[in-house]
Symmetry: C2
């Protein structure tokens, strides 16, 4: 769980997550959209995010495509919900049931 918090507790990493939330992006594309930091820095951030289970990596040719992995956030969400609002636990079940019905 801590790995996740640490992973998102860094501005550039959170920016990366936002970028790959809806679409796949290559490491190079991600690095380009950063004016400030270099490609190796991005690569290292991707490593941290991937290790925390927040990204999927797909190799395609010489490129590697990254995409956010929502399931990776599950343990953090659960922690927050249980910690602050035990009542939400009930609702979580409702959501899961809805999803199963689809």
């Amino acid at each position: 769980m801590y790995e996740i918090i640490k992973a998102i507790a860094e501005p550039n990493r959170l920016s990366i997550l936002k970028m790959v939330r809806t679409r796949e992006m290559s490491a190079g594309q991600i690095a380009e959209s950063f004016g400030s930091i270099t490609r190796p820095a991005v690569s290292q951030h991707l490593g941290v995010l991937k290790k925390a289970g927040l990204l999927t990596e797909k190799r395609e040719g010489t490129s590697r495509l990254y995409k956010a992995r929502p399931e990776g956030f599950a343990s953090l969400k659960e922690f927050l919900e249980e910690f602050w609002e035990p009542r939400l636990q009930k609702l979580k079940t409702v959501v899961e049931n809805e999803n199963n019905e689809k």
Copy 2:
């Protein structure tokens, strides 16, 4: 929002939050239950948590009593929910309505 993530991205601070989740505790009491770190260190952590809006402080004589402040987590919870599962937004409204009915 970042202030909140940074605040909980430190093991001792998260421990403090767990301690004062259900009951009020003085700074001294909190410091005592840490075998490892000193009282000033705890005091500094309390400052960070308070600044992030995660704690309430109540002065009582020479003591200061701290307690977790669930509302402080709202923006982080909202961010996570919206970021990963936009569908939960719907449920959030349900919860709020339930609470209003009480």
